[in-house]
Symmetry: C2
Subunit: 248 residues, 2 copies
């Protein structure tokens, strides 16, 4: 399995696909030039670990291409995903030198890594970077809190519908399309990863996806590709406020 070939210039931040959404979104040319001195790209194959909880991590990073997960595992093997990192999301925590959670590449993954110390110093004297990181962290906290409602209170069917709707919206946003009826996209997760995302078993995930397909809420092309005939119908299945209003 090969590593995705990257269609951007690794030297210059100007051509970076996440240039205007990542932690460096508001940097000027001079600041980018400084960042370029401390950055390196790293790539991981789908399924490979990036770091284990408790490991020292000598870098922080932005996801450039691909999808990574944060997860926790209990002694007896029960696993819960606690974060889903898509392109432009930030990995690592300034001021802490160890990872708190297991980090795994679930698709082929490219990270733009900054050496920790220089980056922290850069942040300290570049307030708009830490302000941008604050914004991103607050967004992640809001997302985590929506996720908590899903984990704590929704039925298996509602969980699946919610996950599909969340991924569809993010996917549409990434392509700068609206998530209109008929929208189709690829699920970046295996059934097992979905189960770990939703606090279910993979069997239950499979059953509920089949049920939603039987009921015409979604259509499948192969195992990974999903079409949404009617977003309204899908939203109805999530159990959320009917008027399409996003809770957060």
């Amino acid at each position: 399995m090969g590593i995705a070939n990257l269609a951007f210039d690794r030297k210059s931040c100007g051509s970076c696909p996440i240039r205007h959404r990542a932690v460096c979104a508001r940097c000027n040319d001079e600041e980018l030039a400084e960042l370029e001195t401390m950055k390196t790209y790293r790539s991981y194959e789908a399924g490979q670990p990036v770091a284990w909880a408790g490991d020292p991590l000598e870098f922080v990073a932005s996801v450039v291409v691909g999808v990574a997960t944060l997860s926790q595992t209990m002694e007896d093997g029960r696993t819960q995903m606690v974060g889903l990192l898509l392109p432009s999301d930030f990995l690592g925590r300034p001021g802490r030198d160890r990872v708190a959670f297991d980090v795994t590449a679930v698709t082929d993954l490219t990270l733009c890594c900054f050496r920790r110390k220089p980056f922290e110093e850069f942040m300290a004297r570049t307030p708009h970077v830490s302000q941008r990181l604050l914004e991103m962290t607050l967004d992640e906290l809001d997302a985590a809190r929506e996720w908590m409602l899903i984990l704590g209170r929704k039925t298996a069917r509602e969980k699946i519908a919610s996950m599909i709707s969340i991924i569809a919206r993010r996917e549409a946003a990434m392509q700068k399309k609206a998530a209109t009826d008929g929208f189709g996209f690829e699920l970046p997760l295996t059934r097992e990863a979905m189960a770990n995302y939703l606090g279910l078993t993979l069997e239950t995930v499979s059953r509920q996806i089949s049920a939603l397909r039987r009921d015409g809420v979604i259509a499948l092309e192969g195992n990974r590709r999903v079409h949404i005939p009617s977003f309204e119908a899908l939203l109805h299945e999530t159990g959320d406020d009917s008027d399409g209003g996003m809770p957060a």
Copy 2:
């Protein structure tokens, strides 16, 4: 039911009980003086709402005394708590004028409120404040992620044990004691609020608390006061790593 009498000088930040832990922790005297021009205290009785999801909120605030919750409610009444705000925790989000979640005082509560606009301007030109807020937000995100493991993967008994251990630790930290064997404290939540915290019903909460009492893991004095004869035994019941090591 009366509002708690406050044993601190409402004018001067110097005597504030959360002075060195809140968002203003690293402010100097001059900065505090400026904050004092934009702050007001507000008090709420136990059980009263502070704000509803979607409401415009003209202030951000620090919790000074008491406990508040953030929660989401579905159309059919299912409720999930998604945040527990203790003294020094921050409420509200700079750059957003509406609350994303229902905010409720669960004990008598005192907030130190800052008018939004002046506070945002203050933050923009005082980098260490937004850096402090970033730190606090990252801590909250870590806590939310531990909470997600509890919601998604733990059994009812493990959930109760985890909640008791979390509250015990925070309570001990607040009193600057270690959480030693025999430690006793007050649960600031009703059984129903605990159920909303843990994604359970209040009946299940009650049954599991009774079971832990029967098994000698906890001792109760009345309904709210808890004693922990052995922290190791309690930790064992949480399902977390046995070696007392905190997961995050």
